[in-house]
């Protein structure tokens, strides 16, 4: 494992020239990302811009079409079987749809985060060692849901379920936490709770976090560093501090002046995306109509 990267200790994620295509659609094009230990990075972009695909590559859930993905000093696409699982167990993953098993208790859902350190299949609380159960209860306490430990997961609200999912990720005692639109399915209040919780936990444990978001305001106030993606390409990579919303909006190829206008554009972009999903794959080649519309407004 001789690596050309010198400071291997501090760089935990190193993605170079990553390209991924699904059939004729290109999801990622020559994407690059370097994250140092303890950084809190936000991937910003509209849905469909490649954020999820990039995150899934970091955990070996996708295989790249071309390029290199190094995580924790290992080339992820080359790993298989037990070694891939060992790497995954060091990376926590929080999903947009929480992905808890609805019919299991909250506690057992948290315990599934420890499956990698156990051998063989498990079903039922009795099949987990007492030590792990105590740890899991501790994590549930951390996310404020200790009193729900023995309820079925599907009896919880969305925000609570996402907190259980965070506890499940903590169960892995991860070095890296990946979060894919963790609050996109939540109401604003639960969203802020969940984001605050992730940030707090990351600071306490010195976790490296890569979190994808599509809300610009939230990203600016939450992340240390913003990485903008558009049509599968990294178009922005800068510290969040001092960054203005206008600058961020430029990653969408837009120029605007007033906040209300920005919001209108944001809405439009989301609409456009819905229509463009069905449209031609080479839409990235011609983002011109957007600019035209923006000029009309600005003028």
């Amino acid at each position: 494992m001789s690596s050309p990267v010198g400071n291997e200790d501090s760089v935990v994620i190193d993605v170079e020239r990553l390209t991924k295509s699904f059939g004729s659609t290109v999801a990622l094009r020559d994407a690059a990302l370097r994250v140092e230990r303890g950084e809190i990075v936000v991937l910003l972009g509209l849905s469909g811009s490649g954020k999820s695909t990039l995150l899934r590559h970091l955990d070996g859930l996708e295989t790249p079409t071309a390029g290199s993905v190094r995580v924790l000093g290992q080339e992820v696409p080359r790993l298989t079987g037990r070694r891939l699982r060992a790497l995954r167990s060091r990376i926590g993953f929080v999903f947009q749809q929480f992905e808890l098993v609805p019919s299991l208790t909250v506690l057992e859902n948290v315990l599934t985060g420890a499956l990698a350190e156990l051998r063989g299949p498990r079903l039922g609380l009795w099949s987990y060692p007492r030590r792990l159960k105590l740890t899991a209860l501790g994590h549930l306490d951390r996310v404020g849901l200790l009193d729900r430990a023995y309820q079925r997961a599907d009896t919880l609200s969305g925000g609570q379920q996402q907190r259980v999912a965070i506890a499940r990720a903590l169960m892995q005692d991860p070095e890296i936490l990946l979060a894919d639109e963790p609050v996109a399915s939540l109401d604003p209040e639960s969203s802020e709770q969940v984001m605050a919780l992730i940030r707090e936990i990351a600071m306490d444990a010195g976790l490296t976090v890569v979190c994808s978001l599509h809300q610009v305001d939230l990203a600016l106030s939450w992340g240390d560093r913003i990485v903008g993606l558009r049509h599968g390409e990294v178009v922005l990579d800068t510290p969040a501090e001092g960054l203005s919303k206008v600058e961020v909006m430029e990653i969408y190829g837009r120029v605007a002046t007033a906040t209300a206008e920005l919001e209108a554009i944001e809405r439009e972009l989301v609409d456009e995306l819905g229509a463009a999903d069905a449209a031609a794959p080479e839409r990235s080649a011609a983002p011109a109509p957007l600019v035209a519309a923006g000029e009309n407004r600005a003028g």
């Binding site: 859930l61 699982r85 060992a86 995954r88 167990s89 990376i91 926590g92 993953f93 999903f95 929480f98 992905e99 098993v101 609805p102 019919s103 299991l104 599934t112 499956l115 990698a116 156990l118 063989g120 299949p121 498990r122 079903l123 609380l125 159960k133 105590l134 209860l137 306490d141 951390r142 996310v143 404020g144 849901l145 200790l146 430990a149 023995y150 079925r152 599907d154 009896t155 609200s157 609570q160 907190r163 999912a165 499940r168 990720a169 169960m171 892995q172 802020e192 709770q193 605050a196 919780l197 707090e200 439009e268 609409d271 229509a275 463009a276 449209a279 839409r283 011109a288 109509p289 035209a292």
Partner: protein, 594 residues
């Protein structure tokens, strides 16, 4: 690249001189759909001919009513076995059926794992899984029992193995379907956490499909209990065998008594399993049933309470969930003990009860485990007797004619059952029934009909009207009403309520809403149910022949009892071919009329 401008519909240009009818696009029809429609029509026509052929007529029925009166007068009072013996036989029958079903339930897990497209390790293994599913379902349990009775002499093992092996097909098919329909998310989460393939299955998939697996197993257990009567005719111990002895020695009063016990047993089992099913599935709302609505209401109430608690305990976002550190450890230790709330008490009670039933079943069956090792020695000698297939003393025309009669019985019975069950099933659907009383009484009627085992009904009808296709057809049709009626009622209740509301809002009458909103949404399910019924009836029709209901089953029993095992093989191959043809026809129809 006009993506930004919403594709607003262009108004029709006034200059277009053609009429609306001319400009409207022609309705597309694929050749496959036409072929499928023609096949459907052909099947319906064949069913009508079969029905006309079966000799069912009103005058004939009135005539046989007289027969029945005379018959019952001659039989005298119905009698039962000694209470102690009756109790033992009942327990033995239930235990044997349960053991068989459980055997199938256990084997079906790996089979379904191989057969389901999202868990199978590879193409070859998937094909193997599907092959096992189709084959075990196609071989009638009676044939298996016949073979196993030869190998194990007496005891409960032949019955357990016959039921067990035959049931693998249905349970693993439905289980594989359930696996294919799971939410992949939780499974992906476990993969992302570093779980192995095995752990993905047990922690991510199994908990999701467990309720449907239990429901399928219970359903199959009901079917097997009914089928156990016929197994008695080929030498499987239990109530069925006693009944067949009684009828063979012309002791009709005892035979009818045992039939009555069996009937009561089936109804009780049906009720018990529906209680267990709703207890298992009650939490997950599935449709518009009473249980589902209750569960939703409870869910809303508790969600509301949860939100409230969240607010009161957490005044602001400045105090995120965990900010107050807990005094070291103690409360976590306390939390390790799961509280004995109502849910846990109920689950534990169910668990122990289930375990007790299983252990009891195994004990009462008094399984000769040694046989499982010694019987292999007999296999080659017996296998030789079954090969090559041969019609023996019968000529091919007779045999194909008998197979044709079996198919005819199934077709006629399916047609009769469907006509009645569309009517009864519709009235049993909440959204169609004019009032609650109608719905409840129709549902009750369907439960009672389902409780009556077709075989028992056929036996009674045969006793009354004599041997032949008529009794078989009527018995199958009657049983089919119970099955199809329930399926149709459920499907109609599951259609989207929106279109019905919309039509009612336009002022449509109840019948119009039914015809224009309910039925069209339920048609696909209706076609599916019809083929399911035909499929079931073909299998059942062969078995009814064994008790004298006409068709190929009679020859099967004769060949078995006369030790003409090559004939048995030939007949089984014919049945296999027929079942496979019907099954692939059904699959094709379901695909085309999707």
């Amino acid at each position: 690249m006009s993506t930004l401008v919403a594709p607003s519909r262009r108004p029709a240009e006034a200059s277009d001189a053609r009429s609306v009818a001319e400009r409207a696009p022609k309705r597309g029809r694929s050749p496959e759909r036409i072929a499928a429609s023609l096949t459907l029509v052909a099947i319906v026509v064949a069913s009508i001919i079969a029905l006309a052929d079966s000799g069912i007529s009103i005058p004939h029925m009135i005539e046989s009513w007289g027969n029945a009166e005379r018959f019952f007068a001659r039989v005298g009072p119905i009698s039962f076995p000694e209470p102690a013996q009756l109790l033992y036989l009942t327990a033995l029958t239930i235990g044997l059926v349960l053991c068989g079903t459980l055997l199938a339930a256990v084997i079906s897990v790996p089979v379904a794992y191989l057969a389901a497209s999202n868990t199978t390790p590879g193409g070859g293994l998937q094909a193997f899984g599907r092959f096992v599913t189709v084959l075990t379902r196609a071989i009638p349990d009676v044939v298996l029992a016949m073979v196993f009775v030869l190998m194990f002499s007496l005891g409960s093992l032949p019955g357990i193995l016959a039921i067990g092996i035959h049931s693998i097909g249905m349970i693993s098919k439905l289980f594989a379907d359930a696996i294919e329909q799971i939410d992949e998310g939780p499974r992906r989460a476990i993969r992302a956490a570093g779980g192995s393939t095995w752990q993905e299955f047990t922690s991510g998939i199994l908990p999701q499909v467990l309720p449907s697996w239990v429901a399928t197993v219970l359903h199959r257990n009901d079917i097997n209990l009914r089928g156990s009567v016929v197994l008695g005719y080929v030498g499987v111990v239990g109530l069925g065998m006693e009944m067949s002895f009684a009828f063979k020695s012309l002791n009709y009063s005892l035979g009818l008594g045992i039939a009555l016990v069996m009937f009561a047993l089936c109804i009780v089992m049906e009720i018990v399993s529906s209680i267990v099913r709703s207890a298992m599935l009650g939490v997950a709302p599935t449709g518009r049933s009473l249980g589902a609505r209750l569960a939703r209401r409870v869910g809303r109430a508790s969600a509301g309470r949860g939100a409230q608690r969240l607010e009161t305990s957490r005044p602001g976002l400045e105090t995120p969930p965990s900010s107050a550190p807990r005094p070291a450890g103690t409360s976590l230790e306390a939390a390790l003990r799961r509280p004995w709330d109502a849910v846990r008490i109920r689950n534990t009670a169910w668990g122990w009860a289930a375990l007790a039933v299983v252990v009891g079943s195994v004990l009462i069956c008094d399984i000769q485990w040694g046989d499982l090792i010694t019987f292999w020695a007999k296999v080659p000698a017996i296998a030789v007797q079954f090969w090559p297939p041969d019609f023996g003393n019968y000529d091919a025309a007779t045999m194909f004619g008998a197979m044709g009669q079996t198919i005819g019985i199934a077709l006629a019975a399916t047609l009769l059952a469907l006509v009645v069950s569309v009517f009864v099933g519709s009235l049993a659907a909440r959204n169609v029934a004019p009032n609650g009383t109608t719905r409840t009484s129709m549902r009750l009627l369907l439960v009672v009909i389902r409780g009556i085992p077709e075989v028992i009904l056929a036996i009674v009808l045969i006793v009354i009207t004599g041997l032949g296709a008529q009794a078989g057809t009527l018995a199958l049709a009657f049983g089919g009403i119970g099955l199809a009626g329930k399926l149709i009622a459920d499907s109609f209740e599951e259609v989207k309520a929106g279109p019905e509301r919309a039509l009612r809002a336009t002022g449509a009458s109840r019948a119009q809403v039914y015809a224009s909103a309910t039925v069209p949404q339920g048609t696909r399910a209706l076609i599916g149910h019809s083929f399911y019924l035909l499929d079931t009836n073909i299998r059942a029709a062969t078995i009814l022949g064994i008790v004298g209901g006409g068709g190929i089953g009679y020859y099967l029993l004769n060949a078995g009892q006369g030790s003409n095992y090559q004939v048995v093989t030939a007949i089984v191959l014919m049945i296999l071919a027929t079942v496979l043809v019907v099954e692939s026809l059904a699959m094709w129809m379901r695909r085309v009329f999707r």
